[in-house]
């Protein structure tokens, strides 16, 4: 009890002091240095009307490649760690008919919605990551609703492998053509339409595929295979 109280005090103290340090900055008027330029020039420079997207895919695109790698890494590590795990659940209940039927009909719609999100990443507050997650959630729905629903591992591997590879390839094309990795070698295009943003939609589509297949792969690994299917 004393230990717990001590820990609470310690954490509270840490939080308090940190709050003091954090709130030293006057709130609501940040010292905008780089983002000022993004907001002022980003639209014309990159062609993406969603500035967050242009920051994610271009200005900080290298981060995003790393981010994709992190997800890939987690999927890999997870698959490695779970490998050989005895999934010996025998007493799984069957999903209800209502649920499985609903899932069946919702599944393509959710996939489409996911695709919509990552295709329009430069126009709406979406992008490859949420789009990919929505797609994976569609697969999750199927896993939940059908005990025997299967996703081919080969398909997932091919998708994520190629998506990742093409991502790097696009970066390398930029390096080759413009001397800079991930440089946008496509024109900004017609603003506010689907065909804008240079390489941004391209990359976001790849990310969507990659994230979708990776998250699905993670779910697949965690689901395991029970003896019925």
């Amino acid at each position: 009890m004393i230990k717990k109280a001590f820990l609470i005090l310690l954490v509270a103290f840490t939080g308090y002091v940190f709050f003091v340090a954090a709130s030293a900055r006057p709130f609501g008027s940040p010292r905008v240095v780089v983002s000022k330029r993004y907001l002022e020039k980003g639209l014309n420079e990159t062609g993406s009307q969603n500035i967050v997207t242009s920051v994610v895919v271009l200005y900080r695109g290298f981060d995003t490649l790393g981010e994709v790698t992190v997800l890939f890494l987690a999927a890999t590590a997870l698959a490695a760690l779970i490998s050989g795990f005895p999934f010996e659940r025998k007493e799984r209940t069957e999903p209800s008919l209502v649920m499985s039927t609903a899932s069946r009909y919702l599944f393509p719609l959710i996939l489409l919605f996911g695709a919509y999100i990552f295709v329009h990443g430069h126009l709406t507050p979406g992008g490859g990551f949420p789009g990919g997650v929505v797609i994976a959630s569609g697969f999750l729905l199927m896993f939940l609703a059908f005990r025997k629903y299967r996703v081919s591992e080969g398909g997932l591997i091919v998708t994520e492998g190629l998506a990742g590879f093409f991502y790097v390839l696009i970066g390398l094309i930029g390096l080759y053509l413009l001397g800079s990795f991930l440089a946008s070698f496509l024109p900004p295009g017609r603003l506010h339409t689907l065909l804008s943003g240079g390489i941004i939609p391209l990359i976001y589509i790849l990310i969507g595929f990659k994230v979708g297949s990776e998250m699905t792969g993670i779910l697949r690994s965690l689901k395991g295979e029970d003896e019925n299917g």
Binding site: E94, P95, F113, G126, L141, L144, R147
Partner: protein, 90 residues
Amino acid sequence: MSAQVSGLIWIVYFMLVTAGIFLLALRFIFGPTASDRVVAVDGMTTVTTALLVILALFFRRVIYIDVALVYAVLAFIAVLAIARYLEGGL
């Protein structure tokens, strides 16, 4: 450009929804069973979805509706997952 919504409406709307969320939170906290909490969560997701759409109107940004849609999809699947977990179907 677009029509203004009366301030009173906002007040009424947000007050009611806030009160609702508060009640749901109470149910979530007091349970008593796990199912009760899931029911509270499920209710909350619907309320939140509505709230996101309303916020789109409040800020006059249609793009936020996409957010509401994503949220609705994910919340639905999450609730299903919890339900399946509860009945031992995972």
